[in-house]
Subunit: 364 residues, 2 copies
């Protein structure tokens, strides 16, 4: 991956928006721009990227050996255990305006934001999102290939699960299996693996637990991870034994809603149209009140990023947008279901990256 063009595009956004310096710490912007990921620890790592002039990476001395200087994107400024890293960052801003406009990485820890604000009382503070999101949101061919590879890996896991036993195992056991299989299929990191049986599936972000999966249970599996820097995210539904009519009917509606959402993802349409298309189908089927979340989120180096497929987001879809389409139906105390694929907007129409079978898999 050649990072220099990305840095150039972000700098152009900084010029356009009057931002003097970008400060990046933990979170996806730093690896997106440089290939280096800050450790989420109390020792501060921070890239100081001025709109013009040299970039510096302030990094704990003991992590400096991890930094790959190969692309020569920044100078490394290591700090020792008894130094104050915030002083080092502030010192690197010294040459510019006394009232700098500073954009700071969205995930930067509050403790460092407050410490920087105390040292720079006249600075204006803005979100890095302003200058990184417009660049990150449009995926190029290499990025789409990376998202495709990650999607194919979780497709393989989803397909394998159709042949696996569910009854008698705890949710947490299936969770562990999903994590292991994602790693086996080339992911470096499993980010999440929701396994929710029966009534637990009515909680969209259920935490897998001790519940033993039983005959007659619907089981929701929503899992994803990171492979070569890009994220996967898929939801498939399983049923232990033949599903009753009510579940079959709801699932048929869900499939139609997901298909409608995908088809609505055409270039020039507002992001909200994808949400509306899926929601209309579920509403017409009488389950409108049971679809309690947005239809999708962007995906790239971050599991959830722009663009969001949600009511009120009137941003137009452009070629290279990558996002989930994942409507759900949740009946509190009874059961729930969700169906999710990653979709890329192309000039030839919406393209699903996931190809695993989408039917309600009957398992043992």
């Amino acid at each position: 991956m050649n990072h220099a063009p990305r840095v150039g595009r972000v700098r152009a956004e900084m010029e356009r928006r009057g931002i003097d310096v970008l400060l990046l710490s933990v979170g996806p912007d730093l690896p997106y721009l440089t290939g280096y990921e800050a450790m989420p620890l109390e020792r501060l790592t921070m890239l100081v990227l001025p709109a013009r002039g040299d970039a510096r990476l302030v990094v704990p001395q003991l992590e400096a050996p991890r930094v790959d200087r190969g692309e020569d994107l920044f100078e490394v400024v290591p700090w020792a255990e008894t130094d104050d890293p915030v002083d080092r960052v502030v010192g690197l801003l010294g040459g510019g305006s006394a009232n700098p406009v500073v954009a700071i990485g969205d995930h930067t820890w509050a403790r460092f934001v407050l410490a920087l604000q105390a040292e720079l009382p006249h600075a204006q503070w803005r979100r890095a999102h302003e200058v990184t999101s417009p660049v990150r949101v449009v995926k190029d061919a290499d990025e789409i290939a990376a998202l495709q590879a990650a999607a194919s890996a979780v497709d393989a896991v989803a397909a394998e699960m159709r042949e696996r036993p569910f009854a008698g195992r705890r949710e947490i056991d299936v969770h562990r299996e999903l994590v292991d299989r994602m790693l086996e299929h080339g992911h470096q990191r499993a980010n999440f693996a929701i396994v929710a049986a029966a009534a637990n599936a009515a909680s969209p972000h259920h935490e897998p637990g001790e519940r033993v999966i039983a005959q007659g249970d619907v089981v929701l599996c929503d899992f994803g991870g990171t492979m070569d820097g890009y994220c996967s995210d898929i939801t498939r539904m399983f049923h232990v034994g033949p599903p009753p009519a009510e579940v079959r009917d709801a699932y048929e509606l869900l499939e139609a809603a997901q298909e409608a959402g995908v088809r609505a993802a055409t270039i020039g349409a507002p992001c909200s149209a994808v949400d509306a298309a899926a929601r209309d189908v579920i509403g017409a089927g009488g389950h409108g009140e049971h679809f309690v979340h947005r239809t999708g989120h962007g995906i790239g180096t971050e599991a959830h990023e722009d663009p969001y497929m949600v009511a009120g987001n009137e941003d137009a879809i452009v070629a290279g947008h990558a996002f989930s389409v994942e409507p759900g139906i949740y009946l509190t105390g009874r059961f729930g279901m969700r169906l999710e694929d990653i979709v890329v907007a192309t000039t030839a129409g919406p393209r699903r990256l996931n190809a695993a079978p989408r039917d309600l898999a009957v398992v043992g």
Copy 2:
């Protein structure tokens, strides 16, 4: 775990320090105080805890079913997909001062800090650390038992690794094994597992990679996770085949330094004394310049927390402090080593929680 007394102690700190309201999102403070952990996502979860009056948890509607209301510590305020959660938080502050003193969780994402600051331009912003750290830093008997259980679990893993083959395997393979074994031994989460062979071990935070471990390599394994809410962290050293004299000698020095650090951890001594004790031994052995990091960090619900065993920290050790003692010797381009146990300060003297053999294990 009964959380109400913790909330009471934090509120007493808030009164003492003139803090009107505490805002907690992602990070360890929220689960420490309530048992509920915020998901690290773009949808804001935030506890609004005034010094006096009722606490509220602002939570995404789709995560509300995950919230256990059992202890009745707060009211749940769910927000729907098209609501603005920052407005909800600000609305809950409405009754108080126009210039509130707000303490915000140390790990809160910058994007939410900036959004809150924009809505509350006259507030004073402080770190939650001010009021949570004095409470969290002293572990009670239940917490020490939890840390002991987590330590014993990684002790078992460390002991098992002495019987395992290393030669011919990649660092990443041993990393995977450590993760699996931590989970098998009862951890819910593996937080890290550094495996660094030969010259890689000279980089204290080396990322395990494709390097194949070979005869004659020293191998550093530093791993830890979370078990029932409390963290483990241990470092043990392995050598593939008999170690040469230089490695043996350095390791002997390291063991003596670690022992000196542990013995210095007596009640009333400054935290810096633990660092100095370990550093003096390594310095006297001629490796002072090769010990490039502090000697230790506190541990509890967070892997690194107060108190830090570092030069300059003159805070006195008190009974119930729990922390690592982990000196290291790093010879760039050649090899490195570290030895780490978790120690609790007690009225009967320092007590190691880890009991796995501390010698340089010779493996195949």
